[in-house]
Amino acid sequence: MLFADYLLLLFTTAPRRPKALFNVLRGKRTVSTLFAGLTTGTLAYLDSWHGVPLTTFEAATQQLQSAGWLEATQPGYLRVTAAGVTEQNRLRKGLYLPTAFEQFQQADVRQFTAISQLALQVVSEAVHQERRYYPLTTDQHIQWQVKNWFRQWQGPTLGQQIYDELTAFLQTLSDEAAAVFAQSLTGFGLPGLTDQQLATQLDRSPVTILVMRKDLSCHWIAWLKQQPTATPLSALLQPFLKANPVSSSAWQTFQDYLTGQSLTEIAQRRRLKLSTVREHLLETSILWPDFPAAQLLTPTRIAQLSTIFADNPVIETWQFKTVQAELPTMDFFWFRLYQIMRCHDAA
């Protein structure tokens, strides 16, 4: 299995912009990317392929086109062909499909993965009184965070605690998944297996192992969050949990809005451009379904916009120029906000 296989599953028979999908996967949090994620139902994948190079992505879409599974409908758009649908069905049967990627919106999965790997190594070496070892990462920042955590929790029972916690977690997984998780760990006397080595052993592809391991990190985070009392590992996770999927700056703007301040007041007080304040609110409205969009829009604007698009139920095909033709003074912000609201309503 290849990256292209996973990518194919993110396209549908309706044309989609690959560039927007790429931005969703690498976690670019602009309003247009987030909106594309909302309309294509791919927001759960936001940031799940952080760091994937554009060249890799483009090579994969090219490969899918050459195979006849994707076709270009107009410049910048791709859709799945009939043969592509058959291939998608085949892939869905055999491919490991992630089931917990929504955690990418609820925690900093990447950071937690990096920190937890080093933390487990440090505990393992300490359990065996080993002081001389090569740390998994030389990143000073990660080392400092692990050091602080370790100082707080070190003690004669830490090894046993970690053992119990990980055992309880791995028991919730399939044997294959538990094997991937455990064998990739690094610690005393065990360097851990690479994705390539795990792939050979399990007769999977390295990309599949990569997806499995990302998904396992997500499952682990979900499991840790459910633990009733603070444990060493849930404490390690704590700083990486997000209260909500919205960026902190946008969330602040939203809180200000909830206190009854006007958008202009918020912009002045926080020394932001009005357009930035509006972007913050759009971001919040996309990622936070309880956002009071109708209230912000006002009944008048809703009535105007719903009249304009009364004949077109396919929300993502709406064009701002249709609005401009009828209501030349209406700002793009109101159009997009209305569109987002209707997307949430439809879902």
């Binding site: 359990v127 090569y134 740390p135 990143d139 000073q140 055992t167 094997a179 455990a182 360097p191 390539q196």
Partner: protein, 479 residues
Amino acid sequence: MQREALYQLLKTKYGFDAFRPGQYEVITDLLAGQDVLAVLPTGTGKSLIYQLVGTVVPGLVVVVSPLISLMQDQVARLNYQGEKQVAALTSQLDFGAKQSVLNHLKTLKFLFVSPEMLKQPPVLTALKLVTLSLLVIDEAHCISTWGPDFRPDYLSLGALKQTLGNPRTLMLTATATPKVREDILAQLQVPMAKQVIYSVNRPNIYLAVEQVVTEADKRARLQQLVLTVQRPSIVYFSSKRQTDLIADWLRSTTKLRVAAYHAGLSAEDRFKIQQQFMAGELDVICATSAFGMGIDKADIRQVIHYHLPNNLADYVQEIGRAGRDGQPALAVMLYAPGDEQLVRNLNELTTASPMEIQADQQRFMRQQAPNTDLSQVLQYYWTHGYSVGQVTTQFEQRQRAKEIELSQLLAYIQTKKCRRAYLMTYFSEAAPTHTATCCQLAGERLPLESLGLMAGPTESKTAVTPWQQILAQLFLQNS
């Protein structure tokens, strides 16, 4: 410092009873306040020199190093040896992480930094506020346009050293011809530096060259070598793709434990492969030249070059990773006619035509940021006031130098006489007398038996350990 005290420190801190050749001499010279240019072969523990000096002299040791991967290996190695106050300043750090390192300089003992990073004003400002115990220029030959690994950014180091108040300086390299040595001292403005030079000769490494006719023959010969010669082995390639392909092929056609290692792997995978290799869990590593720089494994028995190295200096460095325990080891260069073209192609990548140079200078004049590898390199010259003509001449000289290096490498391959004698002459050293364990003369068989390098039985691949057992092994004390 007294001799006894130094030996005491060596014993307590590193667990060694004796210094390796050159170490003691360089350390005492540095402690006496001398600048030192040390030419010590790979595997002589160059990092121990500045670690020990750093332990004795108060202040920060700044190590200028050319490669990010090398820096990370060095930081990991120092961590391993119990040095906790170590950091690397690289372009990979984000703004916050870089700031955090600069704010903590006073608490650090060792700082690794690239020459590009060192010349950034915030870095220099921060460094001027702390006491420097030692400035180390690692891979110092990169400063010489006559050397094979010339890096234009190294040219700034002389001036930067002045800016930092002329700290005591240690210049380290494994291979340097007299001309390169002269260049290092001139560029760093330390004509009075003490030179400590040890032979590049590694008598326990048997030198062999195997000429094959086709690529298929080469593969077959490679397979035969890794199966019949004592393990572990390193096989060097010049492309990532070939590294992966041949590693896969060896894995599927032999029972050997084989891994590929190159810059395309994630940091995590690179770490794991290095650790598996050190722990004796791998028989063969297929690698690009990035592998091994930070590796200190004493019992590597064979280094094979599947592709030609760039030049003889690189070759000596790379085979130097074999036999550090002093026991017999084997270096084999596999050569098929036309292989030199691959080296030429790689050299082409770093060249530039007068037109390209001219065009890039215009880019610089338009104040556009460099956007290719080439313009990154050229940027240095433009910011330092070089003319298009000067740069063109410089590039032409480099190309000619590379072509000469390649012909010297080919002469080593083709020679009918003692290969070691050829190598030693190349480094301006006296040639030792040829013996049966020295090198393979044209047409001779590999004397594996008399070298004691016949392979033992293949280790069977270990069965998969259940996850419960792995957790117990990792986290429970008596498992």
